[in-house]
Amino acid sequence: MHFDPTIPFKYWDALLIGLGTSLRLTLICLAIGIALGFVTSQARQSRLLPVRAVATFYVELFRGTPVLIQLFWIFYCLPMLIGAEPGNFISAVLSLSLYAGAITSETFRAALKSIPREQYDTCRALGITGLRLAIWVVLPQALLRAIPTLLSNAVALFKESALISAVGMADLMFIGSSIANRTGRPVEMLTAVAIIYFTVAFPLTRIVGRIEARILRRLAV
């Protein structure tokens, strides 16, 4: 077969639009997911059994089923249940945010475990409780300790976002494979798409290692 590496460059603008969609979706869902994840991790430590049960069920459900079926469920089943079409983008944001919330809540849970007991005792002595304890004492420390894993979560989310091509959203994967089918050049196009995903994800994973080392050094004071 004749391999022509110039083909993907002919379609660089379309691929760039696809990458834009993938990145935008990842960032939106990451922001919502981190907020949701922190709230969920707090709910899982709640003293109230129903709150704890709901939070645990949510996390286990979204971590225990394929993201693909979560997407299909929200795209095809939710509109029937609520009797309205939320639209493609909203549906994608909804499903990936719920997934992101589930995985980041586990990250926060691990980070929360590493906050020393003394901090809680100090807060009690100072009369800091409830929401103020969560926002001013727990959140900053949990966030700092969670940063490396959250970055890994971000990379995972970016990779999982390729699934939305299966429900017809024009992300990088969808545009790449459409062009591959249209031009009959799967090798060049799909390889190019893989390289683009790699160029975004790889530097991020390197940064994770760097930050991890730095935070470890700081915390080990």
């Binding site: 077969m1 286990e60 459900l61 971590r63 225990g64 089923t65 394929p66 993201v67 693909l68 079926i69 979560q70 299909f72 469920w73 095809y76 089943c77 029937m80 249940l81 609520i82 009797g83 990379v155 990779k159 999982e160 976002s161 390729a162 699934l163 091509s165 299966a166 994967m173 494979s177 591959a180 799967p186 090798v187 799909l190 390889t191 798409v193 893989a194 995903y197 790699f198 994800a201 790889f202 994973t205």
Partner: protein
């Protein structure tokens, strides 16, 4: 809107979903076989002193870890046959793609575990004159396997969930059968809910076991 749930069609076609489950489990089992063995080999290569071994292993791991599984599966399906003039059963391609992906993730798990083998063990090996393959098989591997167990199990169950992707290249796994059934019967809610429940019912017990093991490790360390 009130929606009338009708699980009748799903129950009637449960045998199709059952066949799908078997395909998904077969894929997962074979991928884990590759992932557990090749993963360890790659982990050893990552630690090798000669770049001849280290560089390809690193490239493989980073490539599989930094791209979506979907593109890996699609690439194996459409590009490998063209590039290598290799036309085999779709299942083989799916197992290869998922297996290599798992191997890359497991290699990282093994590597961390190998690093956790205390220096003293190596010193003891040197004192006893154990080297090379004997040291790997009788000292490093048992140690690393135990330390890596939770990660390996988590990765193994993740690949079970990722195996749903092969439905997009028309391999008749659980996801694919579910998709077909939902289109045939116009009952997406019931079908996808049952399919999700099946995936969950298989993953949840294993992730529970992982949590138990991790809790025990934590206790031992504390």
């Amino acid at each position: 809107m009130t929606y009338d749930l009708q699980f009748f069609y799903v129950w009637q076609n449960l045998d199709k979903l059952g066949r799908g489950v078997l395909v998904s489990l077969e894929l997962t089992g074979l991928a884990n076989l590759i992932g557990l063995t090749a993963g360890f080999a790659i982990a050893l290569m990552l630690r090798a002193r000669t770049p001849v071994l280290r560089v390809p292993a690193t490239a493989l791991v980073e490539l599989f870890r930094c791209t979506p599984v979907l593109i890996q599966v699609v690439w194996f399906f459409y590009c490998v046959p063209i590039l290598f003039n290799l036309f085999v059963d779709p299942m083989v391609m799916a197992v290869l793609a998922l297996g290599l992906n798992l191997a890359a993730f497991n290699a990282e798990g093994y590597r961390a575990a190998i690093q956790s083998v205390p220096r003293e063990q190596y010193d003891a090996c040197a004192a006893l004159g154990l080297g090379g393959w004997t040291r790997v098989r009788h000292v490093v591997l048992p140690h690393a396997l135990r330390a890596a167990l939770p990660v390996l199990m988590t990765n193994g169950i993740t690949i079970f969930q990722q195996s749903a992707l092969v439905a997009l290249v028309a391999i008749p796994d659980l996801m694919y059968e579910g998709k077909m059934l939902s289109t045939e019967t116009y009952r997406p809610i019931e079908t996808y809910t049952v399919v999700a429940a099946i995936y969950f019912a298989i993953s949840a017990p294993i992730s529970l076991i992982v949590q138990r093991i991790e809790a025990r490790f934590d206790r031992v360390q504390a």
